[in-house]
């Protein structure tokens, strides 16, 4: 998100899911879309069938490659070099949209200079993608009338994550692909409400609606809405909290609905930190690995047991409606926040109707009350309401009650005025293979599982479809280690080791392996690197160096 904010002034998917069907070129990079976003993947396959050119750039020969017009297998962690090189070819061959750049972009010269040396030959050495293929991709992309870029964690979960996003934005800007249907720069959100959580300022630097915490006007505005004083001190990012605990600065932590002990890179580090807290409160629907460490465990509700909204990857705010009551004494998360708030801060709910529902036991203020408050603090959602959601599907910005929402962003002007073409120098990943750890590990998802598996592993159809962890390895590497398919192996990095089965496949290149991160019995994140992107502090979960050994 930091990347998109830098370039454009706003961080979200610029276009729509079904706009994919209108595109004539799709560049899918660092996204195993058919597995991670199956319905978006389906739209891509349909578009490809209809004649749209599908370009896939992924370290693995993912399923999309089977339907792709062009596909590139770059080395993990070298996306930035690849993208810069694409930009280089486009400028070198004069394929850029000059009119668009003149009208809508700035800093072009510095940008142009920064990619001067990023020739396809230079990139081939780094990425292992043939220079001629890079040229062909650059031409195909630039010649597309409507060329959309789609990416996920494969781009962002790197020490150079922010830079990668800036590079992709550069590519979209110089080809004039922002602000029209079927094109755009489209981060595919991995979780149901990443967009909503970001929108709502669950972020140490932003108030709801991306209003900066260090901005005096924003501070005043929220001080007024919330009727309180606002601290000027910057907050801690999730990835900085571990160290803050170890240093004794952070003593109480409330985790709502996350399982960082399993999901964070170098997860044993997170566990050690949590154990040192004075008070760890975990609110979840299962006793997760993180909850097991907690001092207070609060039983929460699943999506089917509560009211509210999720904002999807295309910025559409959509209703979540309670269908069944939570089990036992579990309560919906909002009621829990309200109860804690009442207990700690006194009753804040004057004015809200406090009838207790005997089936759902919801405690006011209710989701609809909160939503109304949200519409008063962010203009982009000011025109939305639960009433409108009954009949309409609205993407923000939607500033007025009769505004139809904005499916495609940046038609006409960017939030920051002109797009900023950043000069990006590509830096390699934090950790590279060496003699001791000769393989590059990249991690990802499989269709049948989701995240740390707390939900999917308890749904029998899904669990039986993908019941155990595995490491994908190229036949050449497997042969070198005398491994046979499905044999158990040990994977070791500088941070930890796990045991799992080997799956021999040419979907991964020689020198590289892939492990899905869903399985706690062989948690890939015990191996991954928690080195952070310096700008947005995202950890480099997608690439690290490991070794694989035969189990004896």
């Amino acid at each position: 998100m930091t990347g998109l904010v830098t370039v454009l002034g706003s961080g979200a998917m610029t276009n729509t899911i079904n706009g994919i069907l209108d595109s004539d070129v799709m560049l899918v990079i660092g996204s195993n879309t058919t597995e991670t976003h199956p319905i978006i993947g389906l739209r891509m396959l349909t578009a490809a069938k209809k004649g749209s050119k599908l370009i896939v750039a992924d370290p693995r020969r993912i399923k999309l490659c089977d339907s792709a017009t062009l596909s590139m297998q770059q080395r993990p962690g070298t996306d930035g070099a690849l993208i810069n090189s694409l930009c280089h070819v486009i400028l070198r061959d004069g394929l850029e949209d000059k009119e668009y750049i003149a009208k809508r972009a700035e800093n072009f010269d510095a940008f142009k200079e920064s990619i001067e040396k990023c020739t396809p030959e230079w990139a081939e050495k780094i990425t292992n993608v043939p220079a001629s293929l890079i040229e062909e991709v650059a031409h195909t992309f630039a010649k597309g009338e409507r060329a959309g870029i789609y990416y996920t964690m494969g781009i962002t979960q790197h020490t150079s994550g922010t830079d990668n996003v800036c590079s992709l934005a550069n590519l979209a800007v110089i080809t004039g692909n922002l602000g029209k249907e079927g094109a755009g720069l489209n981060p595919l959100r991995g979780q149901n409400n990443v967009q909503g959580a970001s929108d709502m300022g669950c972020n140490p630097s932003f108030f709801p609606g991306y209003q900066k915490c260090d901005d005096k006007d924003a501070q005043e505005k929220f001080a007024k809405i919330w009727d309180c004083s606002i601290t000027e001190k910057p907050g801690l990012m999730a990835t900085e909290m571990g160290d803050a605990i170890t240093e004794g600065k952070l003593a109480g932590l409330w985790i709502m609905g996350e399982n960082p002990v399993l999901s964070d890179p170098n997860s044993s580090h997170a566990q050690k930190a949590f154990e040192q807290l004075d008070c760890l409160v975990v609110q979840d629907i299962f006793l997760t690995e993180t909850a097991e460490l907690a001092d207070v465990v609060l039983p929460a509700a699943s999506f089917a047991e509560k009211d509210g909204t999720f904002a999807n990857t295309e910025r559409k705010v959509q209703r979540v409606r309670k269908a069944v009551p939570p089990p036992g004494d579990a309560r919906d998360d909002l009621s829990i926040i309200n109860m804690v708030s009442n207990r700690m801060l006194g009753n804040q709910n004057g004015g809200f109707n406090a009838t207790i529902d005997p089936v759902f036991h919801t405690v006011p203020p209710f989701a609809s009350d909160i939503f109304e408050e949200i519409t008063t603090c962010w203009i982009a959602m000011a025109g939305m309401s639960y009433d409108r959601f009954e009949t309409e599907s609205l993407a923000w910005p939607c500033p007025e009650k009769d505004h139809p929402g904005t499916p495609v962003l940046h038609k006409g002007v960017f939030p920051r005025g002109k797009a900023w073409l950043s000069a990006i120098t590509w830096n390699g990943p934090d950790e590279n293979p060496d003699e001791e750890y000769p393989l590059i590990l990249t991690t990802g998802r499989v269709l049948y599982q989701y995240h740390t598996g707390t939900m999917t592993r308890r749904s029998e159809v899904l669990e039986s479809s993908a019941p155990s962890a595995y490491v994908e390895m190229n036949p050449a590497d497997a042969e070198g280690l005398h491994l046979t398919d499905n044999e158990m192996v040990r994977a070791t990095s500088r941070r930890g080791k796990i045991e799992l089965a080997v799956r021999i496949t040419d979907r991964v290149d020689k020198g590289m392996v892939f492990i899905p991160f869903h399985y706690k019995e062989a948690s890939a994140n015990l191996l991954t690197n928690d080195a952070l992107d310096p700008k947005c502090k995202i950890p480099e979960a997608k690439v690290c160096a490991i070794k694989i050994e035969k189990l004896v």
């Binding site: 319905i39 509560k306 009551p325 089990p327 999917t456």
Partner: protein
């Protein structure tokens, strides 16, 4: 846009040019049925159900492929069209093979979704199971102990080994929920403002009160006894239904919010007119049948001669009676069995049941007869008491004169009357005689007031109630349970009262009553003889779990329960024995719906008789039963991935497939869209094992909780149970598509591992301990406040989740920023 104007069923319809007649009709909300239509994907093997009559055309036209033209005049339901559809449906139905509903379900007087609750038990979802039972029977605790189990007599498992122990499973889930103090969270409708009086607080009264309260009415129960429960409390002895079970059952029902007035005897303390005057909109009579039919032989006015109901009432009230060593019980009904077994527990050494016919002719359930015998009750059969006038010898207090009986010639109906054998008199010396010759609601006519006197009675002392409306001869007064149908089983009283409640609701609301279940049913065989054994080729013998019980020599020493109940493991094993006869596509089956709509009588036109194909369970998410396939091809054409092929070796003379193959390709992604498009139950989701029948199913539109696509889905909910997830083809961004996680990834919601109670760790090193919310909140607030006081606001932080709602995330950061005063708030996936 150019348009066409045409006439459908006499109405002018203007439509976009280029659409088919079917599409035009759909947009105009005119229903044209079809079994094979998939938008934009025509088939070369059409069902031809969608035909319509087009003026000027001799032949019927398929509306799915005929373009609507200007000036067309169309009949969608002319006689010829209907005749064609009926014929086609009959042809298709002829080879459709399977059970719509399971035989257990059809046999249950309560029409309980038996297969459904067994399926829940098999999955460990006991709470859900109990809710399924309680949809149709609010008294599972008692019925689970005393049900005559009509269902088990028709269980198809009998054809393999033994029937599933259905009733024991019902009792298990009820008991499990009781021990785990489960709040079933039964919903009720908004208040209607209507008030209903219920006379009698036994099974019928409680049942009526429960259903009427759920409908939103204000119900008051008037009970003559000092406690509620009726026959459950004063009829059944403790070894059958312990009093704490009765208490729990009654309280479960009362928790719905029901008013009670105890020790109020109808006809003495109040009258029907009084109830009217109090403003009740309707009255339900559910007083049971508690008056014993008199023992009509000479000299029964002696001491130590009791009638059954009175006797059981005294025993259940804890009265000590001097009963002596020997007792005779006159009669062969269920109550006689309980009287006999109670006598044994009262210390009577020899209990003899006297009955004038053969044992198999006893009205009592044979299971009850066997249980009495096992405990040592003796049977004197083909004997009838003739009087108690004789003087006993010193060893006993009474002398019961008896005469032997024989069977007479069969009458026209083949029934043989009993005749005394002349000169065969004999006598039995006993200390106590208890007669159990049947019960009535009222002896003679009801008295107390004018309205009471207007109540028509049936012969045998029951209230007349119109079988269709449950109404008595007095307007606004209804009757049900034993008081109307005579002394029967608890479940039958429950059913009668539930029907009455449905009628009362319709009466006070002036609305239609909830429709009765359809009688339409495809079946693999009505009687056991009709069922092909090929159905069970793959199923091995697996005998039923044995109910743990106390041996008779121990159990007759006290009133503790004899049958101890299944353990959880036994219950799961027993539930796994269920053959799952009923179709889990019951509520979505288009073939059944159209057969009913077009009044196709499949009992005459025919249905499949035996399985042709084995059921295929090899797919990870989908069960394939080709025997139900009607070759509509919707599955194949709805697949977005071309991962499914349906083909046949050949076709019979009526165009039906022979050698059918439903072939899922290796690249199938298990999204399940084909199942949703299947027009019968040929394709079924493996995790949708509970059939949905006539119960109300709510459809709730919501957003998928997995990736960020935000697919819109429809949650199908029955009671509080999420049955399945589907998608609406009209709603984006997914327009009917979902992935495997969307359609199949929701079982976690009902998973037993769910956190159900707050927990705290009082001290580092100690284990987490379940506590009430109050304590957990106090503990957390104190810890956080202490940190806040000692180290300041920045020593606290919050990590929220991209899984939670926008509103929750907003409230969470507001708590930290506005409440605590720190910006230390983040979420784990903000990238």
């Amino acid at each position: 846009m150019s348009t066409v104007t045409l006439n459908i069923n006499g109405n002018e319809v203007i439509a976009e040019k280029g659409l088919t007649i079917l599409e035009v009709a759909q947009r105009a909300d005119i229903n044209i049925p079809t079994l094979c239509y998939i938008k934009g994907k025509p088939t070369d093997k059409p069902c031809t159900i969608c035909v319509v009559e087009v003026e000027g055309k001799e032949e019927l036209m398929r509306s799915c492929v005929t373009l609507a033209r200007d000036g067309m005049s169309i009949q969608t339901d002319s006689e010829a069209v209907i005749a064609h559809r009926q014929e086609r449906l009959a042809v298709i139905s002829e080879t459709h093979f399977g059970d719509c509903k399971a035989p257990c379900n059809l046999t249950c007087p309560g029409q309980i979704n038996v297969q459904g609750y067994i399926a829940h038990v098999a999955k460990g979802e006991y709470e859900e199971a109990l809710r399924v039972v309680m949809e149709r029977n609010p008294m599972p605790f008692s019925v689970g102990r005393v049900c005559p189990r009509f269902c088990e007599t028709r269980c198809r498992r009998i054809l393999i080994d033994e029937p599933v122990s259905i009733n024991h499973l019902k009792r298990f889930v009820a008991d499990w929920c009781m021990t785990h103090e489960i709040d079933l969270k039964i919903p009720k409708n908004k208040p209607t403002g209507k008030r209903i009086a219920v006379i009698g607080g036994g099974p019928a009264g409680l049942t009526a009160a429960w259903y009427l309260t759920r409908k939103g009415h204000e119900v008051t129960i008037f009970e003559a006894a000092p406690k509620l429960g009726g026959a459950l409390r004063y009829g059944f002895p403790d070894y059958k239904i312990p009093k704490e079970i009765v208490d729990y059952e009654v309280n479960t029902i009362l928790r719905m919010g029901i008013n009670i007035r105890l020790s109020q005897r109808w006809g003495k303390d109040f009258t029907l007119q009084d109830l009217k005057d109090m403003g009740f909109d309707a009255t339900f009579i559910g007083i049971g049948a508690t008056i014993d039919v008199p023992f009509d032989v000479p000299c029964t006015d002696k001491e130590n001669v009791y009638t059954a109901s009175n006797f059981l009432r005294m025993i259940n009230e804890g009265r000590r009676l001097e009963l002596g060593r020997k007792a005779a019980v006159i009669g062969g009904n269920n109550i006689a069995m309980e009287v006999s077994r109670a006598l044994l527990r009262e210390g009577v050494e020899q209990v003899t049941i006297v009955y004038p016919r053969a044992r198999l002719e006893m009205p009592a359930n044979q299971r009850n007869v066997k249980e009495a015998e096992k405990e040592g009750v003796q049977f004197l059969l083909m004997a009838s008491p003739s009087g108690l006038c004789a003087v006993p010898d010193e060893t006993t207090r009474l002398k019961l004169d008896l005469i032997r009986m024989k069977l007479g010639e069969p009458d026209k109906r083949g029934k043989r009357d009993i005749l005394p054998i002349s000169g065969s008199t004999n006598s039995l010396g006993v200390d106590t005689v208890i007669s159990s010759l049947g019960q009535m609601a009222v002896d003679g006519v009801m008295s107390g007031g004018e309205l009471e006197e207007q109540l028509k009675m049936k012969p045998g002392g029951m209230f007349f109630a119109n079988p269709r409306s449950s109404e008595t001869s007095v307007e606004g007064v209804f009757a049900g349970g034993d008081a109307a149908i005579g002394s029967k089983s608890v479940i039958q009283a429950v059913v009668s009262a539930r029907r009455a409640a449905n009628n009362i609701n319709a009466y006070v609301m002036g609305c239609e009553k909830d429709p009765a279940d359809t009688r339409f049913n495809f079946t693999r065989g009505k009687s056991f003889d009709d069922v092909s054994l090929k159905n069970f080729d793959e199923i091995g013998i697996n005998l039923r779990e044995k109910m743990p019980e106390r041996p008779p020599e121990v159990s007759t020493q006290d009133y503790d329960e004899v049958k101890l109940g299944f353990t959880e493991k036994m219950a799961k094993r027993e539930a796994d024995r269920c053959l799952k006869c009923g179709c889990t596509a019951y509520e979505r089956c288009d073939l059944k719906r159209l057969d009913i709509d077009f009044k196709v009588n499949i009992n005459k036109t025919g249905m499949g008789r035996e399985p042709v194909y084995p059921i295929d369970n090899s797919h990870r998410a989908i069960t394939i039963d080709p025997n139900k396939c009607i070759y509509c091809g919707r599955c194949e054409r709805s697949c977005e991935y071309d991962a499914l092929e349906v083909r046949a070796d050949s076709f019979d003379e009526k165009g039906r497939p022979v050698g059918l193959i439903i072939d899922f390709k290796e690249h199938c992604v298990s999204c399940g869209k084909c199942v949703e498009n299947c027009s019968t139950g040929a394709l079924n989701k493996k995790n949708r094992i509970v059939p949905i029948q006539s119960e109300e199913v709510r459809e709730i539109h919501t957003t998928c909780p997995y990736c960020g696509t935000g697919c819109q889905m429809v949650l199908k909910v029955k009671g509080h149970t999420l049955m399945e997830i589907t998608a609406d083809p009209e709603i984006g961004p997914n327009f009917g598509d979902l992935c495997v996680k969307g359609r199949f990834g929701h079982n976690f919601i009902q998973h037993p591992d769910r956190l159900k109670t707050p927990m705290i760790r009082r001290q580092k090193g100690l284990p987490l301990e379940p506590v009430k919310w109050d304590e957990a909140l106090d503990f957390m607030a104190q810890s956080f406040s202490r940190i806040l006081g000692e180290k300041g606001p920045d020593a606290l932080a919050g990590l929220s989740s991209a899984r939670c709602t926008t509103e929750e995330n907003y409230a969470f950061q507001k708590f930290f920023r506005a409440g605590i005063g720190t910006n230390n708030v983040d979420h784990c996936a903000r990238y």
